[in-house]
Each structure stands twice: as C-alpha cells, then as structure tokens.
Amino acid sequence: MTDPSPAHAAAQDLGVQALHAGYGEIKVLQGIDLVARKASITAVVGANGAGKTTLMQVLAGLITPSSGTISLSGTAIQAQPTHRRVAQGVVLVPEGRKIFPDLSVRENLLLGAVTARARPHRDETMEQVCTMFPRLAERIGQLGGTLSGGEQQMLALGRGLMAQPSVLLLDEPTLGLAPGIARQIFRIVPRLRDMGITILIAEQDLHRTLRIADYAYVLENGLVAAEGTGEALEQDPAVRRAYLGRD
C-alpha cells in the first residue's frame, strides 16, 4: 500500500455527539463527544472498563446506542446496520481479532472485501496487504486458527484494509502481543494515516499510543475526562489518574 488507492483518497471524518450506550441496565457510555479528523490518528485511551471497546462497537454498529449521534462526514449513520457502515468505509478491527478460525488466511482476507465498495479493488489490495505483512503471504493457505496471536492480529488488520476503509477503528490492536509485534503495529498505523485513512485507535499502551496520536481523548467511567494533542496529554495529571485510579 505505497500509494493511496482512489477509495482512500476520499478521506472522511467521524463525529460523535452525546453518545449513550450500554448493555441492558448497565450504562457504559454516558455522553461521549469526540471527533476523529480526516486522515489523522485519534486515540481513545483509558483504563479497563472505561468504555473504549463499547465505544468502538457502537461506532461499528454492533451495539445500538440508547441516544446520541454518530456522523460520517456530516451524515448521521447511527441507525445503519454494520454492513451499511462497512460499505461506506467505516471498518472495525476488533479487540481479540475475531478472525475466522477454520477459513484460510486467503479466505479471511477475501471476506474483508465483500462490500461493493471493496470488491473491484480486491486483487490489488490483497497484493498490497501481502506486501505490508509478508508473514500473511507466507501463510496464505493456512487456516486462520493455526496462526500465532501476532499473525492473527496482522490478519485482522489486513482484513480491515481489504474493505478499503476511509475510517479505521482499531480496538486494542496490541493487546496480548509480544513487544516486537506490538512495535510493528505501532509503526504501521502512522503509515495508514499517511495513506489518507482516518484512524480511531483504542489502546492500553498509553505512551506509545500518545506518541503516534495527532489527538487523543481520555475516557473515564464512560465520559471524556481529558482531551488534547498526544504530547499535551502525556504531561496531564488527569491522564495518570485515569490510568492509575482504576487498574
């Protein structure tokens, strides 16, 4: 993926206003406002249970919010089912990878490009993904479930890229990975932004995340506790509290 393909060129921004969501009686998000600007990296950091994964799932359409709006370049999308959002380029790389264990690496990648938006570019994107992750190219015929954790994360990321994302939602992409692979993921994310993809990343690795983020939000108990540029937040005591206060 050395040069941005046409679909990426139309970068979009993602906005969230007064978002409330939860599971039944349990309220997790209690009024979130945030913006992921076009072709930038926006980080969502916070301790376990702060609501990061719930936020990502609501944005992807896996959970229906109880109130609030989600807008993609100004158009409200909160009522749309997941497949409609993917068709517009809002693509989730989920926590825990969620690859198809009994399908081959190739089939996993092909499934990343099921939408009409992605299908015409399928073969070239597959080549680009294989260039970006040579390990996937080596294991293209293996079953997804036989890959190591790091390889599965690459597969999940590659599958997300197959969808021609304009907004990529990365949920805990380095969780449980060996340090070397985590570093590799952190190197790739800025490259994706430079290709024109808008990135919203939820992460536990505070320092590395803030270092690559253009802008960041700190989530605490389902609310935005602090926001600012990555650098500014690294100095902020509220950030330390959000992390050390709960874990």
Binding site: A60, G61, L62, T82, H83, R85, V86, A87, V91, L92, P94, K98, I99, F100, P101, D102, L103, E107, L110, L111, G112, V114, T115, R119, R159, A163
Partner: protein
C-alpha cells in the same frame, strides 16, 4: 456373510438412503448454522414435499422429477414466510445463541404439530403411494429400480451443487463465514439477513426435494416426517453442528449403519444401532466426527 456385506444390493440401498439423509442433514445444518434455529419441523417440510410430489403426479400424470423445482420453491416459500412472520424479529434483537436455540425448539415444535394436523385434516391420515419409474434394472448381481436410481442421482447432484456453491463462490464463503463466527461476519460487512434468507430457502427447499424423491419409493402420510427429523438431527450432531461436509459424511454413515443393521440383525436392531452409534460417536468425539463450527 462377507458376500452379504459386500453385495451391491446393500451398498446401493445404503447410497440411496445416505444421499437422502445427507440432503436433509444439509438443510437442517444450513438453517442451524446461520441462525441457530433448531428446526424440529424439518421432517415435516420433507412430508410436505412428499405430498406435493404425490398430488402433482396424481393430478397431472407428469413425473414428479419435473416438478422438483416447484416443490423446492414451495418449501422455500413456507420457510421464508415463517422467517418473515416469526423469526426475523427474534434474530434481529441480538439474543444469545442458547436463547435462540431454546425458543426455536419450542416454536418449531408448534409448527410441526400444526403442519402435521393441517395435513391430516386436508388429506386424511391414509397412507398414499403411487407407482412411478418402478422398472427394475439389473446390473451384475444388483437389481435397482428406476426411481431409486433417479432419487440417488438427483440427491447427489444437489449435494454436489450446494458444495460447489459454498466452496467456489463469494456468497458461499459468506455463508460459511456466518456459520463459523457470527460477530466476525457482521464486522467484515456481510449482510447477515440476506445470507439467512438464502440459507432458509436452501434449507427448507432441499427438505421438500428430499420428500419429493422419497415419495417415489415410500408411502406418504402426514406423520412420516418425524423419523427424518430424528435422522437429520443424528446426522448433523454426528457430523458436527454447522459442519456442512461432516454432515454429508455422517448422512452416508448413518445410512450404512441402518441398512446393514436391518440386514444382519433385524428391523428392531435398526434404532438400537443408530442411537448406539450416535451415542458412541458423541462419547468418543463430543464435537462430532469432523468438529463443530465455532460460535
């Protein structure tokens, strides 16, 4: 003894029955795999297909083989109506698979009772049969009736067609993906309800076709479906729930057990051996012969 075991006659009988079991198992597996619906009315859709074929032949005199697409469309249509009226809402609310399984079991039990009794009211409980393609062909030591040959060929063709569809097309890949990991299927952007509609049409349509084929060689009654519902469940559990290929293998295996049990022992040994083999396989390999589809 060995002569009996290897006789073409028994193998042919097992192949005919096995192809039917594989076909009804396939339909049940598609519906279960993509929706987690436990359709215990599956055999009743087979029964409806059998009545469809019986009445078609009785009224028009034209071979029911010609009417199979129509019979399949009828089965698919009833399945889709059930989906639209009963299950779409249930599935859309994001219930846990276990809850869907439990509710669908009860709902389909009701559907089964209604279908059986409405059929008995309309057509009476009298067994019906007709003669079609019953010429006997002798190949070597093996005598085969035309209708059994036709039944075997049609069932094999449908099984082959569905396997090619699942393994060679993008839509087939989407079906397999949904069976394997529901949430991941949503995440990659698969239109889940569209896949479910196709699975319903395939699942119920193939059950009706199996009934149409069976009607050429067996008596048709409103209550004939139960035996096949049980067989279909044994087949998909033996093959691994949601495992399409495993189900097909298990269908043939079950038929071999059944045919040989009846021949070597007695008709009573049939159910003992079927359930014995079923329990034994579950004890040895709880995920079925070829493993269960995950989630």
């Amino acid at each position: 003894m060995l002569d009996t075991l290897l006789s073409g006659q028994l193998l042919f009988a097992a192949a005919v029955l096995g192809a039917l079991y594989a076909l009804i198992g396939l339909g049940l597996n598609l519906v279960y795999g993509t929706m987690r619906l436990l359709n215990i009315a599956h055999g009743d859709f087979l029964m409806l297909g059998a009545y469809g074929a019986f009445w078609w032949f009785t009224l028009t005199g034209i071979s029911p083989l010609i009417a199979l697409p129509l019979i399949a469309a009828g089965g698919a249509g009833i399945g889709l109506a059930l989906y639209a009226l009963v299950f779409r809402k249930q599935l859309a609310t994001g219930l846990a698979p276990a809850v869907i399984e439990a509710r669908s079991l009860l709902l389909f039990f009701g559907v089964s009772v209604v279908i059986q009794n409405v059929t008995a009211l309309l057509f009476s409980a009298t067994p019906r049969a007709y003669r079609h393609l019953d010429t006997v062909y002798q190949i070597g030591q093996t005598a085969m009736t035309g209708n059994r040959i036709a039944s075997l060929l049609v069932a094999l063709a449908i099984l082959g067609g569905v396997l090619v569809f699942l393994n060679r097309t993008l839509f087939g890949l989407e079906i397999k993906a949904l069976i394997q990991h529901r949430e991941a299927a949503r995440i990659v952007g698969i239109n889940v309800s569209r896949v479910q509609i196709v699975a319903i049409a395939l699942g119920f349509g193939s059950a009706a076709i199996a009934g149409g084929l069976l009607s050429m060689t067996e008596q048709v009654t409103p209550f004939m479906g139960f035996r096949f519902t049980i067989a279909a469940f044994v087949v998909i559990i033996m093959g691994g729930l949601g495992n399409i290929l495993g189900g097909i293998v298990a269908g043939f295996l079950l038929a071999v057990i059944e045919i040989y049990a009846v021949t070597l022992f007695s008709a009573e040994a049939r159910s003992i051996l079927i359930y014995g083999a079923f329990v034994a396989i579950l004890l040895i390999s709880p995920q079925g012969l070829l493993g269960r589809a995950r989630r």
